[in-house]
């Protein structure tokens, strides 16, 4: 009863000054944006459009090849409705103004002017086609080279693996061909789970920062305390009131996106809905810091600044810890197989670079400046820090698991991190919340107003 009264009061406070409404409109815009993204399956003809027109553009600008043109002709598919189930055949045609031009093209080592190179070209341009075969058609005019290309089956098991063209704002085409799955994953993980979550958290921190300083203001704290409710309950209810603000925002944004993505693509990634509790868990850490600082300083500004500081700090602690663990893994692998070359690979990013560095010199500093002697300290600090970074990693991982295939998962970066178990994450985080809110309650309890 009292709790519900406070919840209602907090929402009234959030609704006041149109903060909540403005936020919901913002999140509606995000949902609309997500809903404006459409995917249409590509056809094989479209797939060749870009590379062919690029090459033809090159010919037009080269005096040696004036009048030369590449084209796809007589394209046939056995299943126009479901292109991912079809076998394809078409002619790959090089037509030139003069026969010498064709001869010159044959001399270029990479140009698809013979059977083998045409097959290679088709496999690159349309990697989803299976059993691609090309055959030179004889008896064509001297200024024309014609190959008959066939494919049997596709790599795409269903429509979600088939490449799609994406359009945003209902019309704008994105020059990027992704499978439907990859497209939806990108939206869910990067647009909503990444940028969207970040915006929600950022704004929630600011919007809720005033709740507790307002309560503790002279003249209003007396009124609150004089009611038949203990001080710690008052504070905890206010804290939960702040969380409810974010809960509404998150549910609206994530739930709304989930709905429009499902309606548009038919892909209902239920794991994506886990973003609601995870973002809320993340916020519960931030808001505990905000509450703690607010009780001590009674200032919203200080609470906001301190919360952002803690946010960055917890991120850095989590990140450093993850990289240390990765390093230790690499070193352990190395030790287990000292003679083998390890899988020294071409570094693609900083993570890879550290792995390579670690194999060469296990004592190398992390990020080139974080010395190994501090690893122990960093891990100790991490032990008692709330697991916001891990919650974030888990969010990526869960969204990916809900949508990508095992193979795609292995390729995607979200699978390479060392993830802590749920027990550890919830245990340590809960412990942190209890300690910090406990301190805030203690301060509130003993203070005279």
């Amino acid at each position: 009863m009292q709790f519900l009264a406070f919840l209602k009061d907090s929402l009234r406070e959030a609704r006041n000054g149109w903060v909540l409404q403005a936020m919901l409109v913002l999140s509606a815009i995000l949902v609309l944006f997500v809903g404006s993204i459409s995917f249409t399956p590509t056809t094989v003809a479209e797939v060749f459009d870009t590379p062919l027109s690029l090459m033809n553009w090159g010919f037009r600008n080269d005096p040696n090849f004036t009048g030369t043109k590449l084209s796809i002709e007589h394209l046939e598919s056995t299943n126009a409705q479901e292109p991912w189930k079809a076998d394809y055949q078409f002619d790959f045609v090089i037509s030139a103004a003069k026969p010498e031009q064709i001869a010159r093209l044959e001399e270029k080592p990479a140009f698809p002017a013979n059977r083998g190179r045409v097959e290679k070209f088709v496999r690159q341009a349309a990697p989803f086609l299976e059993n691609v075969k090309a055959k030179l058609i004889e008896n064509t005019p001297a200024n024309e080279r014609r190959f008959h290309v066939t494919s049997q089956g596709t790599k795409a098991a269903d429509v979600t693996a088939w490449p799609h063209v994406a359009k945003v704002f209902f019309a704008l085409e994105i020059p990027l061909t992704l499978s439907l799955r990859a497209g939806v994953y990108t939206i869910e993980n990067y647009i909503v789970g990444g940028a969207g979550a970040w915006i929600i958290l950022f704004i929630s921190v600011i919007m809720t920062s005033g709740f507790i300083p307002n309560l503790l203001q002279k003249g209003s704290v007396d009124l609150a305390i004089s009611k038949p409710i203990s001080r710690w309950r008052l504070l905890v209810y206010k804290y939960l009131g702040g969380l409810s603000f974010t809960a509404i925002l998150t549910t609206f944004t994530v739930g709304g996106s989930w709905l429009v993505i499902g309606l548009r693509t038919g892909m209902w990634n239920n794991n994506f809905l886990l973003a609601i509790p995870l973002i809320l868990a993340y916020f519960s850490i931030l808001y505990a810091v905000s509450t703690f600082v607010a009780v001590f300083t009674r200032s919203a500004i200080v609470a906001i600044l301190a919360t952002f500081l803690a946010w960055g700090l917890f991120f850095a602690i989590g990140r450093v810890n993850r990289d240390i663990e990765k390093r230790e893994q690499t070193v352990a692998e190395q030790a287990a197989n000292p003679t083998g070359p390890g899988n020294l690979k071409q570094p693609q990013n900083l993570d890879d670079l550290d792995e390579v560095m670690a194999r060469i010199d296990p004592d190398a500093p992390l990020y080139r400046f974080f010395p190994k002697s501090l690893f122990g300290v960093a891990k100790a600090v991490h032990t008692i820090s709330p697991r916001s970074y891990q919650i974030d990693l888990w969010l990526d991982r869960l969204i990916a698991q809900g949508i990508l295939t095992d193979e795609e998962l292995k390729e995607s970066k979200s699978n390479t991190s060392v993830l802590a178990g749920w027990l550890e994450i919830s245990g340590v985080t809960l412990g942190f919340l209890i300690v910090i809110l406990g301190l805030a309650c203690w301060r509130f309890e003993t203070r005279s107003y």
Partner: protein, 319 residues
């Protein structure tokens, strides 16, 4: 004062804010059905005392109980109403929604709230504005709402810190009547005020707090009586024989058509009256002179309270 049931009891209550000793060994008992007035200069510690009883301020030493429970217990506050000084209601509420919120905290049922809230707002005279946002309320309206929220849940004890602050004269009179009605219902009122005439009008007992100490405590009548000072009026044209009165050992002052006689003991006035009748003079007027509460207050609070500037008696034009 019979059948007393103590509702508020403090014993040797102390509170210091760092260097400032806001309360020094305050012992006080307020009984059920009293309207108790606490007077004192700015910074004397009046608000501090109330806040300790409500658990808003933590005491340093001594004991304080409210309705038989140690001060600060949250459940006892269900039976307590409080109007703070300088209250700041959440601006996002309307008058009615604020009372609904508070009513829920007091555990009042929805029906109860629906019935009581318009009623109490009617009583304090702001019912017509109950659905307006509080930011549109005037100062006096906020004060009336503050009183409404202090009484609408039928509390046994009501603390009012400067209750008539900002309220117009008509409203004040209505509030006085309201306080008397509440007292008649058996509720206990504890009022902090600077408006001495008002306190004089409604309070059954009064304490004067000075620099955190109680310097006077009693009924209004007790406090305002000036022992042994009488005003005597005789029939027109007659003169009181001054030298004879002085010879009896009393002081005498002529004040207009009247004489003020200061005797050692109130019963000594009989000897003056005997003298009057022995001289064949006709008595027309005799009262024991009282002082106003303000007189008492100003005399008692000669020294200044902690936190306010030092002023001498002369500067104040004191008596």
């Amino acid at each position: 004062m019979s059948g007393q049931e103590p509702v508020i009891v403090t014993e040797q209550l102390q509170k210091s804010y760092g260097e400032v000793e806001a309360l020094k060994r305050v012992s006080l008992t307020v009984n059920r059905g009293e309207i108790f007035g606490l007077l004192g200069q700015n910074g004397a510690g009046k608000s501090t005392l109330i806040k300790i009883l409500l658990g808003i301020v933590r005491k340093t030493e001594g004991s304080a109980t409210l309705l038989g429970e140690p001060a600060g217990r949250s459940d006892v506050r269900r039976r307590v109403g409080y109007l703070p000084e300088d209250h700041q209601f959440p601006q996002y509420h309307t008058g009615a929604s604020l009372l609904h919120f508070y009513g829920q905290l007091y555990g009042m049922s929805r029906d109860d709230r629906r019935r009581k809230i318009p009623e109490v707002l009617e009583t304090v005279g702001i019912r017509k504005r109950m659905d307006s946002k509080l930011r549109t309320y005037s100062k006096g309206m906020k004060q009336r709402l503050g009183i409404a929220q202090a009484i609408f849940h039928d509390p046994d004890v009501i603390f009012l810190d400067e209750p008539t602050d900002g309220v117009d004269p008509v409203g004040r009179k209505e509030l006085r009547e309201l306080f008397e009605k509440l007292r008649d219902q058996g509720r206990t009122l504890f009022v902090n005020s600077h408006l001495l005439q008002e306190v004089e009008l409604v309070c059954t007992r009064v304490a004067i707090l000075q620099r955190g100490e109680i310097v006077r405590l009693g009924t209004v009548a007790d406090l305002t009586r000036q022992e042994g000072r009488f005003v005597i009026g005789l029939a027109p044209g007659q003169e009181l024989p001054a030298d004879e009165v002085i010879r009896l050992g009393y002081r005498l002052e002529k004040a207009g058509a009247f004489w003020e006689v200061v005797v050692n003991d109130p019963t000594d006035i009989d000897r003056v009256l005997e003298l009057v009748s022995a001289r064949g003079l006709k008595l027309r007027h005799l009262v024991e002179k009282k002082q106003s509460l303000e007189d008492v207050f100003v005399r008692e609070t000669d020294q200044n309270a902690p936190g306010t500037d030092e002023r001498s008696r002369k500067q104040r034009g004191g008596r």
